[in-house]
Symmetry: C2
Subunit: 451 residues, 2 copies
């Protein structure tokens, strides 16, 4: 059923106020859809619907609700309800939720939480933001070296359903160091007396609590794993990062790259929920830098006043030259930045990439130069010498733009900056300055003779 249809039926049910029917309807829906429906409700109705929800899904629905709605709800319900809610949530979801709340509300929630959970949450809130520790969960199953399949099944039967991922079993030694992993599917096919550590995969891929989430995303991409164990400095198992969180991390990293590549300060918030003031603040720094650089580029124009005065065609072609240079540069830099992000291109590939871009630039430049020569001649009615200057400058611009677009992200990577910063806006600005200089030098040289 489509979302609009779901909404209309629930609205109708809610208007007529039959609790048991609403409850029944909710039981047929996915928790994500219910959470989205909650978004459309006013405070009173929100509370009403939330209390109608079957207890076993209310914490799931809560997890998928929007931060504002969560806060509204927390402010409306009693401490005991909060306590039950937090207790039912997976630890990583509870921590995520608390990180979004104002400090005063966090305090109230933590006071209501069960003691054991509260201590764990406090520990998690201390991990650096965006670190593996801050996104991991402790809902995993650990076993010891000598444990048999029978032991494991008994434990799983006791605690299994509380765990976010019981499909990978983690085997640790007495010092809690991670020895290996065992897929649940291998275990359930094994003999009851088989020892887990005899069947496990040793040398499991893992990350440290202090690793950045970017490292987490890279590791998952490289090894195609669906859950990652997280260890502390002494290699002791302290948590796991589950597949859904890994997917979120990858999307966050991608969004960050998109933002940086457009000259924006990265932001965690959804666009529609960010205040205009905040949005403006994220945009102004790069705009100011770029505007200042572009004004210095303008100085180049000023110093070539004489040659510009000889022909309005030269001035008219400035937008085309700047525009094409910027586009060529960002085409190259986008491919290189994305290649670096996906682990396909390294700094050691610099010369290979440069040689490739040189050949691409030679071909692209030739096509554009011929095209421009014809257009400038026939549409602008330019003299052949003028059209030749424009075409030649364009050819040089394309070559320079491709070279800068491929070199700068790799250099940034080498010196430890984020390659994504070397994208469109910066490349465009740099290409503008160099291409205009070349343009005017060529123009001075050729037009002096020709005109």
């Amino acid at each position: 059923m489509e979302w609009e249809a779901i909404k209309n039926r629930l609205d109708a049910l809610l208007a007529n106020g039959k609790h048991s029917e609403i409850r029944g309807a909710m039981m047929m829906l996915n928790v994500v859809d219910i959470a989205q429906y909650m978004e459309t409700l006013e405070r009173d109705k929100l509370l009403h619907v939330f209390r109608i929800l079957p207890k076993d899904i209310s914490s799931d629905v809560f997890t998928y609700m929007e931060p504002e709605q969560k806060q509204l709800l927390i402010e409306s319900i009693g401490d005991q309800e909060i306590c039950a809610l937090i207790d039912d949530m997976f630890l990583d979801d509870a921590v995520d939720f608390l990180e979004e709340l104002p400090a005063s509300v966090v305090k109230r929630v933590l006071q209501s939480a069960p003691v054991e959970k509260r201590n764990l949450i406090n520990q998690f809130l201390r991990y650096p933001e965006y670190s593996a520790g801050s996104i991991m969960t402790i809902e995993y199953l650990e076993f010891h070296e000598g444990d048999t399949v029978r032991d494991a099944m008994n434990i799983i039967k006791k605690v299994g359903l509380d765990k976010e991922t019981i499909y990978t079993l983690y085997i640790i030694d007495k010092e809690r160091r991670l020895l290996g992993t065992l897929a649940l599917r291998r275990m359930i096919l094994a003999d009851e007396d088989a020892v887990l550590s005899d069947m496990m995969t040793t040398n499991p891929i893992s990350v440290y609590t202090t690793d950045d989430q970017e490292k987490v995303a890279d590791t998952v991409r490289r090894y195609d794993v669906m859950a990652l164990p997280v260890v502390d400095k002494e290699n002791r198992l302290v948590g796991i990062i589950t597949a859904d969180d890994v997917m979120d991390v990858i999307e966050e990293e991608n969004t960050e790259d998109f933002e940086k590549m457009a000259g924006l300060m990265p932001s965690e918030e959804e666009y529609l929920k960010t205040s205009p003031f905040r949005l403006a603040l994220n945009r102004i720094p790069w705009l100011l830098i770029m505007a200042a650089v572009a004004l210095f580029t303008g100085m180049i124009i000023k110093s070539f006043e004489d040659v510009l005065a000889t022909s309005i065609v030269l001035t008219s072609c400035i937008p085309m030259l700047m525009n094409t240079g910027g586009n060529c540069g960002s085409q190259a830099s986008t491919l290189i930045i994305r290649g670096i992000a996906l682990g396909e291109i390294e700094f050691r590939d610099l010369f290979r990439a440069l040689w490739k871009e040189f050949r691409v630039g030679a071909m692209v430049g030739a096509v554009l130069a011929v095209f421009t020569f014809l257009l400038v001649t026939f549409i602008y009615g330019a003299a052949p010498a003028e059209a030749f200057v424009v075409a030649l400058a364009l050819y040089a611009t394309v070559l320079i733009a491709k070279a800068l677009g491929c070199t700068l992200p790799l250099l940034a990577r080498k010196v430890g900056f984020d390659p994504a910063l070397m994208a469109s806006p910066l490349i465009t600005t740099l290409v503008d300055a160099t291409s205009l200089t070349i343009y005017f030098i060529i123009a001075t040289a050729i037009l002096k003779i020709a005109l």
Copy 2:
């Protein structure tokens, strides 16, 4: 152990030629690392190492190898070895592999494949590219309405390890229509005589074979599911898409957006493996279109020759105006395009977004206008009237750029185009034309009075 260290040790082992040691070393490594090591080898050594590999991991290693290496290997080994390899591969991996090969090699591989597998592969190769059908796998477990936990366990024990995902059980009716899903963890905790369909989740989230992989990515993002059942038009279960493939789809969709947003034709291949000619072809179409539009923008300059002649400051500020307009536009369009991709922004949000961008533009424009006024006055030594013209035109440019950057992607979405096409290059070109027109109109009006 770091990749470089792994490579050095394997190189040393390979040089000394002790098969059993190499074999032993391989058994300690992750298949992804082995596949990467294979990439560094020449044809002869490649074949040698591949044949040394323990049989149970060779098809996994093969799956992770680069297309060129796979082809090299296929050309070097006998039909019987190909047959064994294909038989050991998961169906979706085999199909992916065949899609990358030249037709002649595909023919040879298919002839060597076991009959049953060949028929399945042929069926898969017929699904449209990028459709759910083309990326799904048939390695899943299906059960019928009346099956009990005991029945299921018997089947799993017989076929379990061959399946890519046995963590979700799919329950179908006699017509093979999908009735529901059951998590393996729920099943193993249940009584042996319990009936699966009594415990299953009904109304499972699914996609159609003909759905585009973008729909697959959207569905996974929305519902946070890790494996998606795929049904045909009659709702019959025909396959599943597993978490690792979903992750690949999301990355592919992101890469496609990055490419489109930089004015590139999307490409599946890795940058370093794409020929310069192919790269040039992917780049030329948009560059030609943009260059033509920019030349028409140049006509605007030409038609305002008179006012430009009054002051070289006006010409010098063209790069800054164009550059800032382009950056402002791409900042807004990037946020909107990303918001649409992540399902956070819809067409119905157009006016909300436009009002937000208006306020952002008002703030950003004010800061930039003041900054530019000062810079142009003190560095260029411009007259107050000139600096005022530049600042005012910049303010208007920022507002227009923000409005276009937010409107165009949403309009594209509405009429069924990809919003990513409305990114930086196109926005920049359009903003250039409008902002230069405004610039010259303001200049004509004010400077006529002032100078």
